[in-house]
Amino acid sequence: MSYQIDEQKIFNSGHAACPGCSEALAIRFIINTLGSDAIAVVPPSCIAIISGPQPLSSMRIPVYQTTLEASAASAAGIKRALLSKGNDHTNVVAIAGDGGTYDIGFQALSAAAERNEDIIYICLDNEGYMNTGSQKSSATPSRAYTTSTPAGKLTPKKNMAAIMAAHNIPYMATATTGYPDDLARKVARAMKIKGGLRFIVVLTPCLTGWGIPDNAGPKVSRLAVESGVFPLYEVENGQSYTLNYGPKGLPVADYVTRQKRYRHLSAEDIEFIQKEVDQNWERLQVKF
């Protein structure tokens, strides 16, 4: 098997992401699929760092850096401005981290989804405030270490995919960097469905925050899928579910033991996570 991905050269080399950064890899397939007729909106995050130190840019499209809580609102505003100028073709995409999506930008996003704004919103989810040195967000999963959950997080990850699907938006998808063709296809699909909010949450392992080697991002992201931690699926109009890559029966231990953020786990902790993952999958499975 080999990948065939149609890329436009919008994302530049020379950006400031860490060596092996999965977020940069995700941005590559997002931006290069969106093409030149697009405007990006980015809140404070690693994405803002990667998009370029002023006055240079790594993206050959206009990028607007907004405030942490306002990505969806800013994107919606830009889209409406374009429409009022008679431009109905340019895609406006907000690319935000999990902090800017699950926590701080949540109100603006939910409101934009409720108004069904004609934008694409992509969350690069690395399960914490990694840009500021790894604090927990509501995307941090159970038992994971962050500097603000030193003994492991006690509550589970917020299910953003389910929340966004429940807004009955035209398109909601989960993706990850270990499946680049799937990610690029979902971005292309989101572009095609116009006239409403399209949301993609992309699991992007953070090498430093998760404690994995520089070369392991894609591999760990695939383990997340194959162990059932992060199934890849799509939902159209809040009701039509399609599974792309589901669990392959791999124990969750194969996933967590590769990451230093889980190295304090006991066998019982792993068993606890396994149960949680199994339950989530059971709940999701019935929808396909």
Partner: protein, 558 residues
Amino acid sequence: MAGIESRVPSIWTTGWTDILNTGTWRNAIAVHQKRPAPCHGGCPVDGEIPVWVQQVRNEDFKAAWETLVENNPLPAVIGRTCHRPCEGVCNRAEYDGAVSINALEQYVGDLAIRKGWVFPVPPIELDQHVAVIGGGPAGLSCAYQLRRKGFRVTLFDANPELGGVLRYGVPEYRLPKKTVAAETRRIVDLGVNVISGQKLTGKDLGKIEQEYSAIFIAFGAHRPKSLPQFPDDADRVLDGIAFLRSVRLGSPAELGQKVVVIGGGSVAMDVAGSALRLGRQAEIIALEGREVMPAPEDEIEDVVAEGVRLIDGAMVKTVEAISKSLRLHCIKVKLDPDTPIGVIRPLEVSGTEFTLEADTVILAVGQDPELADWEDQVRVAKGMVEIDADYRTSRQGIFAAGDVASAERFVSTAVGEGRKAANSIAQYLGQPPALRDVTAIGAAQEPDVAFADINTFYFPPRDRSERDKVAAEVRKASFAEIRLGLTDEQALVQATRCFSCGACLECDNCVYFCPDMAIVKDSTSPLYYKVLEQYCKGCGCCLEECPRGAMGVREETK
């Protein structure tokens, strides 16, 4: 107001990040490289296995055959008889079973025979004339390689037909005569002068030396080893090689109803399988335990399934003649683990004595070269013609290989040695060393691709499927070939299973998984890609995501 506006630039972004030099961050850089596959290292003929298997996968069968016959002119034969060290070291063995390389080789070899593919005429004709003595696997291989280089070659063989052990040893049900004939014919058609039915002896050497520029000795090993406990009783104690030959010649030696075969190698299995097909009851006594017997496990499995009784880890102590039959007094043994490599010392397990009755005993405990009249011509050591690393004997211009000079008794090893000896002979006769042998030495410095270098995500599990075999009940009733070749579909599945270790197939994973877009396709590079040194941060994702270990890393010190 006007003053404030003038401080705001009309364009905030003045350029792109690709002017930055993020390559300075790294301490190691990814490099594309061709690395050796373990199967290649394990192959007795140095076959380019990953190359021809991919050619099969691309359904370019003629090219696959041409790659195969670079090193081995007998793929249909070796595809049936090789002991398959390649499959033993195949990285896929650790995953879901080795690729059925041997079956694929047979598939390509058989296809070539069906299609009537022939070897190209040698590009040049040289005056030098080489005599090859012995038309078995080593002699055929050497004659073929020498002819391809343009030498005149005369092949002497004692038997009426060429093939040696292939024609007169291995039984029909494992290697059909017509296959041997087709592949030897093709070598002869290359312009090899054959003088068959004439056994040369050491005394003829002087005369041949006068007429030929070089001589290659490869007449094999035909003198059976004997065991002192068996009486010199030609009616009831037979030699395995002579028996197989009699079967091959169509007039099998007389056998009693109960046959006991002594030995644990391929010959013993062939003898037992042949006796069974002649309607006899057969038992095998092997000194070694089944797992360490010299015969490959599948050959043992075959005869056992057909109804041969295997008694492993046992030996015959004494033999008693009773009326028409022999009574064998046997005992179970364990092999002494403290002996040096190559030496077998059985230790009797007391209290495990048993007896067997046999109408005929067939000894298949190995054979030595017949060197009685050669000893005063070339130096002989340990019962074999002594050769150096370049297959030279003690006498100038005379080379030797195969069973006559080696204790490694495998047909594919003989084919490999024949090829290497041909290269030595060519060098002796003033030809430059073959280029690929020179490059092979360079490539060998890179370590073999290991299973850990394979990214198995890109290879969905797919069970190893071997050639189908005729059901044991049916096959034991005749000498018809027992292994059915792969079907077209099976062959393609096998070829697809190959990881292609260390040999890039241009899947572009290294391009796609680079977060820095630092790898680009480069059609001018023999390795297909170029790493952009300005941007590569040295993360190693490309190495990790390369499915087949065709990338390495070069450390950089600044």
